[in-house]
């Protein structure tokens, strides 16, 4: 004790004390936030979440989906669609729907994360359905090659082999998948939004979905090895390019070469 009391007037004592204080505060904060994180990852919602969600639902969604989400002639019942469906539709801005049309269009989202979670909690409380996926399925560390095979067999006929999107009948379409978060991709597969079929866990296992997300994120990060990808739209954009740019440049050269005589 004596040694300590003797050194308390040491020039470095204040700095040591400060470091100690910062370390303790930082450590406590780190522990506290990881506790929070863990709590957010589990998709068990509190009763107040569902309650708040119910209020949001009544104010913003019930006009079409009906009180209690039981559905009207304008929109389907949401009983049993699950939290994943709400997180996808509201999280990508597709709901509330901007206008009627062949399918709900993506737009800037209207609710923040907390409100989206509350809405999800409310809809999940109405009946069992697909839950928001666990973070371990979204880590993009699956097998990209296997995901690619699954993607080509199950998804490419609408979304295009390079996930550049494609047309469906009567104004419906499959959107391009670049820039879509892994969580939303997973939820889309699990719930089948708009005109997309449902790929439940019996069709494509959760690991398979993880592989697909890994594949999509891998090709997105890879970019185009052969230069500008011209939209990854296949031979149509290539043909258009050769006719407009290729032949255009060559015609300019032919005019230049023959311009000396009239």
């Amino acid at each position: 004790m004596k040694a300590l009391s003797q050194k308390r007037r040491h020039p470095l004592a204040a700095i040591a004390l400060l470091l100690l204080g910062l370390l303790v505060t930082g450590g406590l904060y780190a522990v506290a936030t990881t506790v929070n994180q863990a709590k957010a990852d589990t998709t068990t919602f509190s009763a107040s979440d569902a309650q708040e969600g119910g209020k949001l639902f009544a104010a913003n969604c019930a006009t079409c989906h009906g009180m209690g989400a039981s559905g009207t002639k304008d929109a389907p019942s949401l009983v049993g669609v699950g939290a994943a469906a709400v997180d996808f539709q509201v999280g990508t801005g597709r709901m509330p729907m901007q206008m009627n049309g062949p399918q709900a269009q993506e737009k800037p989202r209207q609710f923040n994360d907390q409100q989206t979670q509350q809405l999800a909690a409310y809809v999940a409380s109405l009946g069992a359905g697909p839950a928001i996926p666990d973070a371990s399925l979204l880590d993009e560390k699956g097998d990209a090659a296997k995901g690619g095979e699954l993607f080509r067999v199950n998804c490419a006929m609408c979304h295009n082999a390079a996930a550049a999107g494609g047309a469906l009948t009567r104004g419906k379409f499959a959107p391009a998948l670049a820039g879509v978060s892994g969580q939303h991709i997973y939820e889309a597969m699990a719930t089948g939004p708009q005109n997309m079929p449902v790929f439940n866990d019996a069709n494509i296992s959760p690991e398979g979905k993880r592989d697909i997300i890994t594949f999509l994120k891998t090709i997105e990060a890879n970019g185009s090895p052969g230069g500008n990808d011209l939209g990854s739209l296949g031979p149509v954009s290539e043909g258009l390019f050769v006719w407009v740019a290729g032949l255009g440049v060559i015609i300019a050269f032919t005019i230049w070469l023959t311009s000396r005589t009239s």
């Binding site: 006929m157 052969g226 149509v236």
Partner: protein
């Protein structure tokens, strides 16, 4: 020069190189050939260079294709990918696809050469097409060049065949889908279709033989035929001499332009490197046929955006336009146990059949209607042959409607319209588009002729307004120079040729039909301004000076 000197004093070369050259020349006669070819005259016009672009693209294709054959293996044996493209690691695939991926990712310069080859292929067929359009719209297919027009048509078909066989080689999902469509089309041919398909694929589709067979066709048979046709084509170009656009001093008996050597040869040689440079730039900067995106061929999946390369697009588009059923009317019949699927057979074969039949026979059709048996070396300006131009534009429009239909899904997504509506509109345009195009083009051509006539008679509008002493305002018209004037008045404008009796004094029904077509062909015409009209127009004008030169021109006309 050397020929005359050898006649008197034998030419003795002084240097070693000279002796070797002389030795060779005495035995192969190179200087004679060079002298003859060096004097060939080529008229200068940018639109005359598309044939050259096609030729140069073909040379690029031969060179880049040879490089690719060093590394490509056309085997359909099964393997697992172990190259450097990780999203396909350990995926089951054919050796052909595996080697295509290796060319793309593990052979130095391989991807560049693949892209050079593919871009050059697209450019090859595109320049062929534009060249044929130029020949058609300027009337260059007329006597004596009808057969060369047919050779050109054969080249177009061979180029499409060459392109399609090449498109199928990498054995990726896209090319496999294309082959499946061809297989379906072949099988839709009544009775013999299935037999042909089994013969071609060595059994049921896809089998294990097709890639190897297409490879042999692609690198051996079809290129050899293309080369042969190019030789025949160029030989006939030399025999016929080049056509030229109308202009002062140009007639059916001469060619006005540069001799091949040295200026034109230098230009043409340089142009090869320009074409090569453009193709190389495209290959270096823009990806084409990213086979790694499509994955190995597997008969079950079909990707969105599956289309053939552009030159097969019109057939694909026709297939897309054909309805499966109309109300309750089906297009599929079973006759004596044989299935007849008209909804595949009709769109796949009929439009292409019509296009190529008309293309091959058009020179003879027009010759029959016009009874024009003269040689033509001076071209028509498209507006001065309104009906031919209208026929050409109608045919081109029809082709373009089918071509657009091949991209109907991308039209729908990129213009935010419904795919069904795109199909309905294109179906309508398939029938009325050519008719509208014919009428509009003919009217535009006639209107341009009237404008030409107006300018020939009254000169060019200067935009300068002058007030005369008595108060009248007039716009000053400037006279054209002789060259421009000649261009506007120096063309033929045939009038309808009435039915004529044959040697027995009988007007045959066929002759009556010909006369009716001749009337349809030439009825609407704007005659070029005659010398008398020109004189009258300038007589009351303010340009007495020009008149003497006009008169001079009228004599040559």
């Amino acid at each position: 020069m050397s020929a005359s000197s050898t006649a008197e004093v034998p030419f003795v070369p002084k240097t070693k190189v000279g002796r070797i050259t002389d030795f060779v020349d005495e035995r192969v006669g190179g200087s004679g050939i060079l002298r003859e070819f060096g004097r060939k005259v080529f008229p200068d016009h940018w639109s005359f260079m598309f044939g050259e672009v096609a030729l140069y693209s073909f040379v690029i294709l031969l060179m880049s294709g040879t490089f690719l054959t060093f590394f490509f293996d056309p085997s359909m044996a099964e393997t697992h990918y172990s190259g450097s493209y990780t999203p396909l690691t350990n995926v089951e695939m054919s050796v052909a696809y595996n080697s295509s991926l290796n060319i793309s990712f593990d052979v130095r310069g391989g991807l560049f050469f693949r892209q050079v080859h593919h871009w050059a292929a697209l450019l090859f067929v595109a320049s062929l097409g534009v060249h044929m359009l130029r020949v058609f719209f300027t009337g260059a297919f007329r006597k004596p060049r009808e057969m060369n027009w047919v050779v050109g048509g054969v080249l177009l078909i061979l180029a499409m065949a060459e392109g399609f066989t090449g498109y199928s080689l990498p054995d990726d999902l896209l090319s496999g889908n294309g082959l499946r469509i061809i297989d379906g089309v072949i099988k839709s041919i009544p009775v013999i279709g299935t037999y042909i398909s089994f013969f071609l694929f060595g059994g049921e589709f896809p089998g294990t033989a097709i890639i190897g067979r297409l490879y042999v066709l692609h690198i051996l048979l079809v290129p050899a035929m293309i080369l042969l046709m190019i030789v025949i084509h160029l030989f006939m170009v030399v025999v016929h001499k080049h056509t030229q656009y109308p202009g002062p001093g140009r007639n059916d008996g001469n060619v006005v332009g540069y001799p091949l050597g040295p200026v034109y040869a230098a230009k043409a040689g340089g142009f090869f490197f320009i074409v090569f440079g453009v193709v190389a730039l495209m290959a270096a900067m823009f990806t084409i046929n990213p086979i790694w995106n499509y994955g190995p061929y597997d008969p079950s999946p079909v990707s969105a955006g599956t289309q053939p390369d552009w030159y097969i697009g019109f057939v694909d588009g026709a297939l897309r336009l054909m309805p499966g059923v109309v109300n309750d009317f089906h297009f599929e019949y079973i006759i004596f146990g044989h299935v007849l699927t008209l909804n595949v057979l009709l769109p796949a074969l009929v439009p292409a059949g019509i296009i190529f039949t008309v293309l091959f026979t058009y020179p003879w059709i027009e010759r029959w209607i016009t009874k024009d048996n003269r040689e033509h070396h001076v071209l028509d300006r498209p507006r001065n042959a309104p009906t031919r131009t209208a026929i050409g534009v109608a045919g081109f429009t029809w082709y373009c409607v089918m071509w657009a239909a091949a991209g109907s899904d991308l039209i729908a997504t990129h213009f935010h319209v419904a795919l069904n509506d795109v199909t309905y509109w294109l179906r309508t345009l398939f029938f009325i588009g050519p008719i509208i195009a014919f009428m509009v083009t003919k009217r535009v051509a006639l209107a341009l002729q009237r404008k030409d006539r107006e300018i020939a008679l009254h000169g060019r509008e200067t935009g300068r307004i002058v007030r005369l002493p008595h108060g009248e305002f007039i716009e000053v018209h400037a006279p054209l120079d002789d060259y421009k004037q000649y261009k506007l008045v120096g063309f033929e404008s045939p009038s309808p040729l009435a039915a004529q009796p044959n040697e027995h004094g009988v007007v045959t029904p066929k002759e009556k039909r010909r006369a009716a077509l001749s009337k349809w062909f030439f009825e609407d015409r704007v005659a070029p301004a005659t010398p008398a009209e020109l004189e009258a127009a300038h007589g009351h004008g303010h340009h007495e000076a020009i008149e003497s030169s006009e008169e001079h021109k009228s004599l040559s006309h």
